[in-house]
């Protein structure tokens, strides 16, 4: 009861506060929360960057439960916020309901496609970034065997795996890519113990670089790799700092850039299908003080060259989700 009362109070305050600032952008974080060191935090960073550069202000809310999705959307829309940005595919159905009711408000959804005239659907070319880190894995590997550990076995994760394998083969056609999925249920996103065991199993098969695209399970992969003295590759946001000197790089989805761009366009947000890839800075790999010693100048040059070629269309990385098949194994 008290929780409900507090919550209602919080929403009321939020609505009042938002009412005063007309046409400010609003940002809704998914259940992971604003400071999840990953996806949502990247969105927050993008919003802060926009705020620092333009001096504008924005409203935000961290969801606490599934039931709040539609409520939060409607609150912000009623209060006149424009555009309203949300992070995560889970908003898909709620936005599908709400968007037609507010034709004058622009919405942006990340990682999901919602077909409505006032919605901008931002999706990422994860296969391109996976290709780049695959190249780096093949160059860093001494054994000629590299590993991939996915979370739940869904087409999106196979897209990561397929891009990665293509990158590895581009550098070393004889390389072996050991691929494992953690499971077939959502529990596979949060089983670091299984992730760690899979890593050890891949190490015993000769892998000396592993790429984890597995949410919370990836934490277990990275720590097992660090324990066993091999290199790992993080995903989504920059995870190099988790094990300094042990994480080769991270495949970055620049959610911050997507949010920044959406906020910059303001109420004139360009709607429709927005693909973030290497060409427009939506996908990249992480290079910072934690992995500077691991990435040689030669490696960096090769990867940057490949990135330029992907951007120009000279190299076409196959997207698994386009035909549910991967040309390389």
């Amino acid at each position: 009861m008290t929780i409900k009362a507090t919550f209602l109070g919080a929403v009321a305050t939020l609505a009042l506060g938002a009412g005063g600032a007309l046409a400010d952008p609003a940002l809704i974080y998914d259940l992971g929360g604003k400071f999840d060191k990953s996806f949502n935090e990247a969105a927050h960073n993008g919003a802060e960057k926009w705020k620092a550069e333009t001096g504008g202000s924005y409203n935000e809310i961290e969801l606490q439960s599934e039931a709040q999705r539609e409520q939060a959307l409607r609150r912000f829309a009623e209060a006149g916020n424009n555009p309203i940005i949300m992070t995560g595919f889970a908003f898909g159905s709620a936005l599908g309901e709400v968007a037609p009711d507010y034709p004058d408000t622009k919405f942006a959804i990340i990682d999901m496609v919602v077909d409505s005239p006032n919605v901008r659907s931002v999706v990422f070319n994860e296969h391109e970034g996976s290709y780049l880190v695959g190249m780096m894995a093949a160059m860093a590997s001494e054994s000629g065997t590299v590993g991939f550990i996915g979370g739940m076995d869904i087409p999106l994760i196979r897209k990561f795996a397929c891009g990665y394998a293509q990158g590895v083969k581009a550098v070393n056609p004889d390389a072996t890519v050991v691929q494992n999925m953690t499971g077939t249920t959502p529990a596979a996103w949060n089983d670091p113990v299984k992730g760690g065991e899979l890593t050890k199993a891949q190490i015993s098969q000769g892998a000396d670089v592993v790429y984890a695209a597995a949410g919370g399970t990836g934490v277990g992969v990275l720590s097992a790799a660090a324990d066993e003295g091999i290199l790992s590759i993080g995903v989504d946001s920059n995870q190099n700092y988790l094990h300094p000197g042990k994480v080769l790089t991270s495949m970055m989805k620049r959610v911050d850039n997507a949010v920044y761009e959406a906020m910059s366009q303001g109420a004139d947000l360009e709607t429709g299908f927005n693909v973030m890839g290497i060409a427009n800075g939506g996908i990249g790999y992480a290079l910072d003080e934690y992995n500077a010693e691991l990435v040689s100048a030669e490696m960096q040059a090769a990867v940057d060259d490949a990135a330029a070629k992907i951007a120009s269309g000279e190299i076409a990385v196959h997207d698994y989700m386009s035909d549910n098949a991967c040309p390389v194994q």
Binding site: D36, N190, D191, V193, E197, K200, V219, H243
Partner: protein, 321 residues
Amino acid sequence: MDFLTLLQVSDSTVRLATPLLLACLAGLFSERAGIFDIGLEGKMLFAAFFSGAIAAVTGSAWMGLVAAIFASLILSVIHGLASITFRGNQLISGVAINFLAAGLTVVVAQDWFGQGGRTPSLTGAARFNPITLPFAESLGAVPVLGPIYRDLLSGHTILVYVAFACVPLTWWVLYRTRFGLRLRAVGEAPEAVDTAGISVVRLRYAAVIICGVLCGIAGSYLATALQAGFVKDMTAGRGYIALAALIFAKWRPWYALWATLLFGLLQAVALRFQNIDLGVFVLPVQFMDALPFILTVIILAGFVGKAIPPRAGGEPYVKER
């Protein structure tokens, strides 16, 4: 399959069986005293979170272990209160504990560390590190037995050895001490124990508390030995597999060891060889994951021996109506 692969799979089996074994023995104590406990999963999860959190804050894995046991004990006492003192339904209390742990850990972790329901990564003394048994390196050169000693027996964390030591200890306590006899009796015929002038309530609380301690160690093993920190829902159903192992083991300590090792082996094989090609057809990895439950159902159906639970299990003891 060559010798080295066999050794690696066995090593992985030991690591994966340890939390199952601890949870299984925990359940054994509780159920032998007549208290069904499906809250093993929740207790492990709660313990895993507190061991991860306290180890991260204090930098000591041992403090984490103490916190884990304490946290697990709190849930045990709640289960005891509900099912012994207030004579509630033991299954419902267990389910409630699982829900409570799943929700509370994430909420507290988010509020405490602000990392989306995780605890910070642990390093150094904040984790239980592998112990190298004496002469492991020098004996490693001996053929066959050397690598077994070096790779399979040595190089685990202290909690693994504790877990395996708990098996003979449990056997001794249950079958060779007065306390053990009374504990088993209270699960079979509490009225007989009561007639003898021994407190049923006190014995059942003792069993539930031992269960809490063992679950605490299991949770701590997951978060601070096997992994470097707590992640949301990290027990991933291991409490339920431990329950299956308990039935498979027919509520006996040594059988519990073999059952959990078998289930650990199934997991290790599933992780090492996904989709096993038998020549005739391909065995999908999902089948291996489901095998512990399938085996338990076969046992329960009475195909392989008979699994008879403690007779007074699940029944609250009413002294007089």
